[in-house]
């Protein structure tokens, strides 16, 4: 639709591209800056006046980091928690979303309201209650508690997104499959879910990223070093009088990379996934 016009107005197109690149730079800039800070020496961080680029490129920071903190452990914990929470969210939200999209039942409205309400509480406000409950189940300092909690707080978005998706898929497709002798679960697995893939992928990335970056609950529930996920682990660089910014930012860069790669890998699905959700 634009292409025909754009060919005529190349000047306008140049403006568009420049503006777009400028905006892209703006959103990238803090993270570029973060990277540049992560390869400075500690004393350079406090030098005045400062410089745009490191005087000495201290690439060693990225190696020293692993000696200074059990980063591999933190990454492992983060992966275990985020992946498990994502799987749990899918296992729970897929059937719920499907059912909500296809059937009407008593208390359906109440249930939807409950789902929406879970979005309205932040873990920060609930932290004391969360701690008591986890303690009650004797699950303090366990991955399991963190997995369940992360899944619970991210369930709402997933249900809502997938329900929107399922209701956009004509039931006739499934019914045709049923007539062909598939069970309902088979129909769901073979027909509906593949069609709903963009929505599923979007739900995956949302849950994964939220769990990956979650801080408050992890800080409260986990106490042993070998179970700390990355966001909690890297607070060890925060001393009372001095913060090791170079290490803090280096570990953040390490933490961002897998998530960005994941995002980029599914970027195409992401737009498609949000589409269905948004056109519910």
């Amino acid at each position: 639709m634009k292409s025909t016009k754009a060919k005529k107005l190349t000047g306008k197109k140049v403006v568009t591209i420049s503006v777009a690149y400028l905006i892209a730079w703006f959103f990238l800039y803090p993270y570029i800056h973060m990277f540049l800070t992560s390869v400075r020496t500690h004393e350079e961080l406090y030098a005045y006046p400062t410089t745009h680029f490191p005087q000495v490129w201290q690439w060693r920071n990225y190696l020293d980091l692993w000696d200074n903190a059990p980063i591999a452990n933190y990454l492992k914990s983060s992966l275990i928690i985020s992946i498990s929470a994502t799987i749990l969210v899918l296992l729970v939200s897929l059937p719920a979303a499907y059912f909500l999209a296809r059937y009407r039942f008593r208390f359906r409205g109440v249930f939807l309201l409950l789902v929406l309400a879970t979005q309205m509480f932040s873990p920060t406000a609930l932290i004391i209650g969360i701690f008591r409950e986890v303690d009650f189940f004797n699950l303090l300092d366990s991955y399991l508690a963190l997995i369940i909690l992360n899944a619970g707080f991210n369930l709402a978005f997933s249900i809502w997104l997938l329900a929107g998706f399922f209701s956009s898929i004509p039931a006739e497709i499934e019914e045709a499959a049923l007539i062909d002798g598939c069970s309902r679960v088979q129909a769901l697995r073979k027909i509906t879910i593949p069609v709903a893939l963009p929505g599923v992928v979007t739900a995956i990335i949302f849950t994964f990223v939220a769990a990956w970056n979650e801080f408050t609950i992890a800080l409260t529930i986990i106490s042993s070093v070998d179970k700390k996920p990355l966001p909690v682990g890297l607070t060890q660089f925060i001393g009372q009088y001095d913060i090791a910014w170079e290490y803090l930012f280096a570990s953040t860069i390490i933490a961002i990379i897998p998530v960005v790669v994941l995002f980029i890998a599914i970027e195409k699905y992401l737009v498609g996934g949000l589409t269905a959700g948004s056109v519910k």
Partner: protein, 305 residues
């Protein structure tokens, strides 16, 4: 599939079924919600009616004493007013900036892919770390922002953007807008892509200008995407904690606190768990009201159409 989905919804077969047959499908979700959210909420409410010692031990049922104390706390009111500015200001600017941005990255141009990727970073990075890096960039003395302004000759002396009373809260809001834009833009982009091309083309054949097409055709069709983006932003911004906490601690005094950071400060800095939990309950009621009101308003305009 995308473009067709809008129309099909009404033809989707829906069946009325019993609650019992629903349970196997929604039961696990229900259980998870009850365990993870409802249980701590009940605790929150219970604590808000309990007398609590300075060290934090729970004593007896206390009636509405915590609520009365909270309402008698003179610091609450400026914080509450500021929270309204925080929520509506950020959501407004996020949406206003995301609309053209979504439009922009919906166009075809070389390198569009990379522009979209760049937009992903603030979304993928934790807000905690994004707040930290902005603090660092905006630091009066060691920050690159002031360095650049000085080199351009725009300022002579370092300006303490994050802490100057005149700019502090707006800087916090700007960072919040920064982290809210990517998600919002993507939702709106998805909305734009769901608009059937033929409608837009028909409009331009009819001689409608770009702006007319946008305002009269696309914007109304974006309504749902906008609705969703706005609701999610309202909730997230209201509950937003790390930006303020990391950049100013809500200080000096309570001068950059919102009710969310204020509740946290009451509980964990001032050892006032009672008022904090009461405020937590209030916070929930407020966000519930805001969202319901918003839903009601948007529904009202929809039926008029």
């Amino acid at each position: 599939m995308k473009s067709a989905s809008t129309k099909r919804k009404s033809s989707v077969a829906t069946h009325d079924v019993s609650v019992a047959s629903a349970l196997p499908w929604i039961g696990p979700a229900l259980l998870l919600i009850i365990l993870v959210v409802i249980w701590p909420v009940v605790e929150l409410v219970r604590i808000s009616f309990t007398d609590i010692t300075i060290a934090g031990s729970l004593l007896d049922f206390h009636g509405f004493a915590n609520y009365r104390e909270l309402l008698a706390n003179p610091d609450l009111y400026p914080v509450a007013r500021r929270t309204l500015l925080w929520v509506f200001g950020i959501v407004f600017f996020t949406v206003i900036l995301s609309l053209p941005l979504a439009q922009l990255i919906n166009q075809n141009f070389p390198g569009r892919k990379y522009v979209r990727w760049a937009l992903i970073f603030p979304w993928a990075a934790s807000v905690v770390m994004t707040s930290m890096i902005w603090t660092w960039i905006l630091d009066a003395y060691s920050g690159e922002f002031n360095l650049t302004l000085t080199q351009l000759g725009l300022i002579d002396e370092p300006v303490d953007w994050v802490n100057n009373p005149g700019s502090s809260f707006y800087v916090l809001m700007a960072v919040a807008v920064f982290v809210s834009i990517p998600f919002t833009t993507y939702v709106l982009l998805a909305g734009l892509q769901s608009i059937p091309n033929d409608i837009v083309e028909a409009a331009s054949v009819d001689g409608a200008s770009h702006w007319q097409t946008y305002r009269q055709i696309k914007f109304p069709l974006l309504r749902n995407a906008l609705l969703i983006a706005t609701i999610i932003n309202l909730i997230n911004v209201f509950n937003s904690f790390p930006i303020i906490w990391i950049m100013t601690r809500g200080g000096p005094g309570y001068e950059t606190d919102t009710t969310t950071t204020f509740a946290y400060k009451l509980a964990f800095i001032e050892s006032n768990m009672g008022q904090s939990t009461a405020l937590g309950v209030f916070n929930f009621i407020v966000i519930l009201l805001i969202v319901s009101l918003y839903l009601k308003l948007t529904k009202a305009t929809r039926t008029e159409l």
